[in-house]
């Protein structure tokens, strides 16, 4: 069935009430039955929940083949925990038929590719998939199609019972002996633990894995002991260098700076740019640099930002400390400045992924957002964005909070260079639709700005401010005139990944790529 963004979704995927994407806010007003986990009672007072090993904790939680294990990605590319748990489960306990439900996966998890090839891991549910795992899944080696969800789509699916987590493994920079966890105070700090929170509440069993056991009570806890079955202490949960970079630095690349300045000009031209406005930006070159130019406009107009959300890094913390933003609410931290600030700097708060972006709850922050600035691997003339698949059709990205913030915000700005190497970023049809075009408002490139024709109001804002803009077709034509129009990719019929829209409908599928021949 062809969906609202023109993608053909195979009918066999449309079972158990699954629908194709019908457009923004289609599920509004519908009811969901929340799932509840089956959890064990711990009535007898316990001195400690520390288990001597992961294997022991797995056994205590009744781990068996066919289960779904969940993980969070706060340790980013420095994470050791996914590999260590899967190794214990598969190689020491001999389990198979396992599904990994992670908030995201990266190249740190390359060893899992081997378990996929062996058929021990048969399901993947994640926001991001990269590296070897992306390659083997794209090659059709995973038994069931991977399910890709946004950061808001995942807690929606968990809360609604579409994903049932048997055991959640919570990598924790610090934990006490009964499982109160925090993202700070240890040797592998990640700051916010927002993505772990829903898992801890909805999993049947919860195992905390830490490399820094601290005195009870570890407060204020991000994940609370009331949800935790066992705590395992290991030598190291991750590589701190890859968990949080040193201070994220604002790009000095003139191209990035020019685009960032244009982003700020666009923002300042809209009626939403007023005292108390809200904002989220990414950490990519031009997205992050937008902070710098936005501050100039804020000073000029003598206004302050009310609040900022998202993945947070140093420049936003800096604005908070300078008193130029009222509150920062943080689901993830990208650099040490942010890690060291959360819950320390007044008005720098932690939130869960559900609170951040879940479209099915009653008050996600993204729905109150004025502006979001996002990157894209590709954007097509329908303003559909791809942040998942490369130009070769292989999985190598993550929707993350992209679709959630784009849908929720009043003004979603995509900033990207027109071409990357020999690839046109602005194109006729993106390889995979990860954020539907009806949620994207403005495109800023180094070759010009285009506004989604659905947003006549924004077109008027730009015109009034004297900001030049062109049609997205013109940008696409310019890109093709510079680097040529790429040949269409060739796919086999097998679906290797299903891309859910944030509301749970099917936005697109990724098929197995045909072997490349020259």
């Amino acid at each position: 069935m062809i969906n609202k963004v023109g993608r053909d979704i195979p009918d066999y995927l449309l079972k158990d009430g699954k629908e194709v994407y019908q457009g923004k806010n289609y599920m509004d007003g519908k009811y969901i039955q929340k799932a509840s986990p089956k959890t064990r009672r711990y009535e007898t007072p316990q001195e400690s929940k520390v288990a001597e090993s992961i294997v022991k904790a797995l056994k205590d939680c009744g781990a068996k083949s066919g289960m779904t294990f969940s993980f969070h990605h706060h340790l980013r590319d420095g994470d050791f925990v996914v590999n260590m748990v899967m190794k214990a489960a598969i190689e020491e306990l001999g389990l198979d038929n396992l599904t990994i439900a992670a908030t995201s996966l990266g190249s740190a998890h390359d060893p899992i590719a081997e378990y996929i090839e062996q058929g021990k891991v048969v399901g993947i549910q994640t926001s991001g998939i990269r590296g070897k795992m992306g390659e083997v899944v794209s090659a059709g080696k995973l038994k069931t199609p991977a399910i890709i969800r946004s950061h808001g789509g995942r807690p929606r699916a968990i809360e609604g019972g579409e994903v049932h987590i048997d055991i959640a493994f919570i990598a924790a920079p610090t934990s006490d002996c009964v499982g109160n966890c925090r993202g700070i105070g240890g040797k592998s700090n990640c700051g916010s633990m927002g993505y772990a929170m829903t898992d801890a509440k909805y999993a049947d069993h919860v195992v905390v894995i830490t490399d820094c056991l601290v005195d009870f009570p570890n407060m204020p806890a991000s994940v609370e002991a009331i949800d935790v079955d066992a705590v395992v202490v290991v030598d190291s949960i991750g590589n701190p260098k890859k968990i949080a970079s040193a201070a994220a630095r604002i790009s000095q690349n003139p191209r990035d700076l020019m685009m960032a300045e244009d982003v700020a000009r666009v923002i300042a031209s809209t009626p939403y740019f007023k005292e108390g406005f809200s904002f989220q930006t990414g950490v990519g070159g031009p997205s992050l640099a937008a902070n710098l130019f936005l501050e100039k406009y804020m000073d000029e107009r003598n206004i302050k930002m009310g609040w900022a959300i998202g993945g947070i890094c140093g420049p936003m913390v800096e604005l908070l400390k300078k008193g130029k933003v009222g509150k920062v609410i943080d689901v993830q931290d990208f650099d040490l400045d942010a890690v060291n600030s959360i819950n320390q700097t007044p008005n720098h708060f932690e939130m869960s992924a559900s609170q951040y972006a879940n479209p099915a709850n009653k008050g996600a922050f993204v729905n109150k957002l004025d502006f979001v600035v996002l990157a894209a691997l590709e954007i097509d003339t329908g303003f559909n964005v791809n942040v998942l698949t490369g130009s070769d059709g292989v999985l190598r990205g993550a929707p993350g909070g992209h679709p959630d913030t784009a849908a929720g915000s009043k003004c979603c700005i995509i900033v990207t260079p027109l071409i990357r190497g020999r690839m046109a970023t602005v194109c006729e049809h993106v390889v995979t639709v990860t954020t539907p075009g009806d949620c994207v408002d403005v495109l800023v490139t180094d070759y010009g700005i285009a506004v989604n024709p659905l947003r006549k109001d924004l077109i008027e804002c730009l015109d009034n401010a004297g900001i030049k803009h062109v049609t997205i077709e013109e940008l696409k034509n310019k890109a093709y005139s510079l680097v040529g129009r790429p040949d269409d990719l060739e796919w086999e019929d097998k679906v290797v990944a299903v891309l859910e829209a944030r509301d749970g409908t099917i936005l697109d599928v990724v098929k197995k790529i045909k072997p490349y021949k020259i």
Partner: protein
Amino acid sequence: MIPRPRPERFRLRRTMMFMNAQKPGLIKDAYIYGCDSIMLDLEDAVAENQKDAARFSLYHALKTIDYGDTEVIVRINGLDTPHWQEDIRVCVAGGADGIRIAKCESAKDVLTVEAAVEKAEEEFGVEKGRTLLMAALESPKGILNAYEICAASSRMFGVAISGGDFRKCMQTTPQRDGIDMVTARGLMLIAARAAGVQCFDTVFTNLDDNEGFEAEVRQNKAMGFDGKSLINPKQIRLVHQLFAPTEKEVIQAEKIVRAVRENAAKGLGVFTVDGKMIDIAFLPGAERTLRLARACGMYEGDLV
């Protein structure tokens, strides 16, 4: 092949951005930053044993990249080097809008380059007189001969001072208030105005010193420069901002242009606008303000 329109001798040149002609990543789309002119450098940015490679890259850039409205000037090697003649042939064959003569010290230097340009125009079948010239004054002698240099050829559209070399000759270094070059800038400006050509200030090289840069650009504008040489795209917007006329100036210029035209039709030479005496001598200045305003997106009328 991208055919470029015939270069305009007098056009808006607020910003001339230098870039190494040998760096494809830089020159492939330098026009996106919105400077008025780009200055592709064959001289100091290019190592001695890379001159030929740079010319090759330059020629293909000129022939294949659509620079649109952005003027494309080439800085050639000095007349005391073995490179300048071949540089000129490449510029003319590729269809550059203009050539910047490095280390120019006399009218003779201009004429020497002009002769070579003319020969190259003949050789490559380029319209005679198409290729414009400008001179970089880099020495005390160049400054003292500024007038004869400016007036040496009808191809000349302007002169620029090159601060690095000039300050070395004068045994000084950049000063916060610009006193190190104030005389040279002044002399060059007078010569350029006397000869009726444009005048451009030198580059500001400390990219981290935003305040110093802004102060220098303000001084440039106050002294009457047409524009400034730049080394980084991030310098462009500030120059355009500071060189832009004020809203009041635009309204005034519009009134003057209208009044001069209306009164000319009535046979009146001298009249008043808002209580100030105005005559035909005010027209070029007012028209220039409107053209500048149009380039800055501040004027959309049809008077210029």
